[in-house]
């Protein structure tokens, strides 16, 4: 594909608000994971964003009130991202800026609360509850669209944990088709009982802060996060960082377990390389999906070895942020962009001893190193895979 300029980006996760705080956490290897207080019945660690409750929505968007909407708007305000979007709107017109966001559960938390508060006699939901503005998968995109005043094509992509990586491909296609001149992409997902108890039911939650790629890894730590990017045609780019390519594939294997051979994951990485016109040897760093489950990390290491051998330095950043599910792709895209911008190769937080069966180069600690071409993997339930390629400089 023709590269797209990333003219602005912002990120909010358990390690902090904005790019600077996130970069500091990467460099200092400071994890945001802590014991879960949302549901006492689930003994696990989570990557919770502090004081989301305090990030108020403007009055005109009050109908969207909820944790995910607040988290999304907090990330739009971070790093002056909204100002950069306003500039793009001024330049292209609001109807020429697309909006494609990933989420798995949108405002499900408000649905959970509403169901607990049903009228005991009639079973009716409380009068203030609006499904359209909270639980509905489009609600997160809708509130961001209203907040930013965007009027171009807009949709939610919901392919589980690859959602907010896939949206980069959607933007690339719609810009290439000249349906838009620019696009805001990203995602937001927040903590909920559904995901906590759901992953608990699959016995995939770690009882300690998650340890991706470790010999003693015991599952995931769920996180919440939001991250956004403004993509523009390269000739308009004022920024040094670019989306070089993307690849996506399906496992066609199982709904919630990855193909142990990693065939779909390898295909996704190869497609991203082809789309970016790069060879495996051109990649300086690979951000793994690396959730911390036994099956996911093993399948991914097999796939990475298949494509790259054991040369490329790679790591999972989920030990810092937790697994932000539908927002994970966007958060890790932001980490890749920070890594390129500041010459920091992210380490693999919480790694003590690499799984001895993994024939890949997992880098335990963050280090200063100039990076020019990086990849980020995101894989989801339903066997839905996506790989993004980012680069710096010519």
């Amino acid at each position: 594909m023709k590269p797209l300029g990333i003219t602005a980006f912002s990120v909010v996760s358990a390690v902090g608000d904005g790019r600077e705080a996130t970069l500091r956490a990467l460099v200092e290897e400071r994890s945001g994971l802590r014991p879960c207080t949302l549901d006492a019945s689930v003994p696990t660690y989570v990557g919770q964003v502090d004081a989301v409750e305090d990030s108020a929505l403007p009055d005109r968007l009050a109908a969207f009130e909820g944790r995910n909407a607040r988290l999304a708007l907090r990330a739009l305000r971070a790093d002056r991202f909204e100002n950069e979007v306003a500039r793009a709107v001024g330049r292209y017109g609001s109807h020429r800026v697309g909006l494609f966001l990933g989420t798995t559960t949108a405002g499900i938390l408000e649905g959970e609360t509403a169901f607990r508060e049903r009228d005991p006699a009639s079973g009716a939901l409380p009068p203030g509850f609006s499904h359209r503005h909270t639980v509905d998968h489009f609600s997160t995109t809708d509130v961001v669209r209203s907040y930013l005043g965007l009027r171009g094509p807009a949709f939610t992509v919901s392919t589980a944990c690859s959602s907010s990586a896939k949206v980069f491909g959607d933007a690339a296609q719609l810009i290439r088709a000249n349906v838009c001149d620019a696009a805001v992409v990203g995602g937001a997902d927040s903590l909920s009982l559904l995901t906590l108890r759901g992953f608990a039911s699959l016995e995939l939650l770690s009882h300690e802060p998650c340890r991706p790629n470790d010999a003693e890894r015991a599952g995931i730590s769920i996180g919440e996060a939001a991250a956004f990017f403004l993509l523009e045609r390269d000739d308009a780019s004022r920024f040094d960082i670019r989306l070089l390519g993307y690849g996506d594939s399906c496992d066609a294997y199982h709904m919630s377990s990855p193909d142990p051979a990693g065939a779909g994951a390898a295909l996704s990485m190869r497609m991203a390389l082809r789309s970016a016109r790069l060879e495996p040897g051109d990649i300086d760093y690979l951000n793994l999906h690396g959730t911390g489950t036994l099956a996911n990390d093993a399948a991914e290491s097999t796939a990475v070895h298949d494509v790259f051998g054991d040369a490329v330095p790679c790591s999972s950043s989920k030990g810092l942020t937790g697994h932000a599910l539908g927002a994970a792709g966007a958060v890790e895209a932001a980490i890749c962009c920070l890594a390129l911008e500041h010459g920091v190769q992210p380490g693999n937080a919480n790694l003590r001893r690499k799984d001895p069966s993994f024939r890949i180069n997992v880098v335990p600690h963050s280090e200063r190193r100039p990076l020019r071409r990086v990849l980020s993997n995101s894989f989801g339930f339903g066997g839905n895979n996506c790989t993004l390629a980012f680069g710096r400089g010519a």
Binding site: L125, H137, T156, T159, Q173, V179, R197, S201, M255, G382
Partner: protein
Amino acid sequence: MVRDAGMRAYVAGATVLSRGMAGAVETCPILSAASHYDPAAPNPEGEPRLLDPREKRRTTATMRLALDVAERCVAASGVSASELSAVFGSSFGDPPLLGSLLETLATPDARLSPTKFHNSVHNAALGYWTIAAGCRLGCTSIAAGDHTFGAALLRGLVESTLDERPVLVVVHDAPFDPPLAALRPVAAAFAAAVLLAPAAMKSCCRIDATLVETSTSPSAPQNAGLHPLWQTNPAARSIPLLEAIARRRAATIDVAHSGDGILRLEMTPS
């Protein structure tokens, strides 16, 4: 004003599954000849055949409807399901499953079913489809509220035009159970599939599509009996396009998408 380069795709198959409508749209009198639509007709059961019985047992009625309509569409086209990328669009996902999960979560300490949890992802129907079809191509699952059909069609048209490959667009939406049904009334379940193809494939008509900045209202169904379904079920917003395919006559269909203006489809029979 039109600024996009224009999208062109050929319709290599179109199928529907809803009350009184099952199979190819061209042989569905409610769509092709505006025959009487009976809103009390029984809901069809989706009966997918490609999925392994063990996997099929884990699916819900909503998913089976989407899988069945997709299978019928691909079977009639003569293309292998494994060679099609797919865009699944659904505004509501799986409403009965959502209600059941929220009921369980409102009960202190109640355990969730692991199958229900993995089925709760919006891309569950797509996931089962790729397993059934043996499809390893990039496929996606999108939602855009009332304009989900327009968004999914736009996404499919762009991919088919740019990559010059067949793309299966599937839309499905179903009614909620109480208490959510009071907030989101949906007349009936509806699923449709349209196989968009490049020029080389056998097709019944051509679609030339552009985004047009206009305040024109989207096209409404020719069959007035379908209006309540079209209005309340986001997947049924596909009805005007399906009618145009079924009638095999040149037509201009305006579809609301999620942005300003409309997606204008110039339909030419082949």
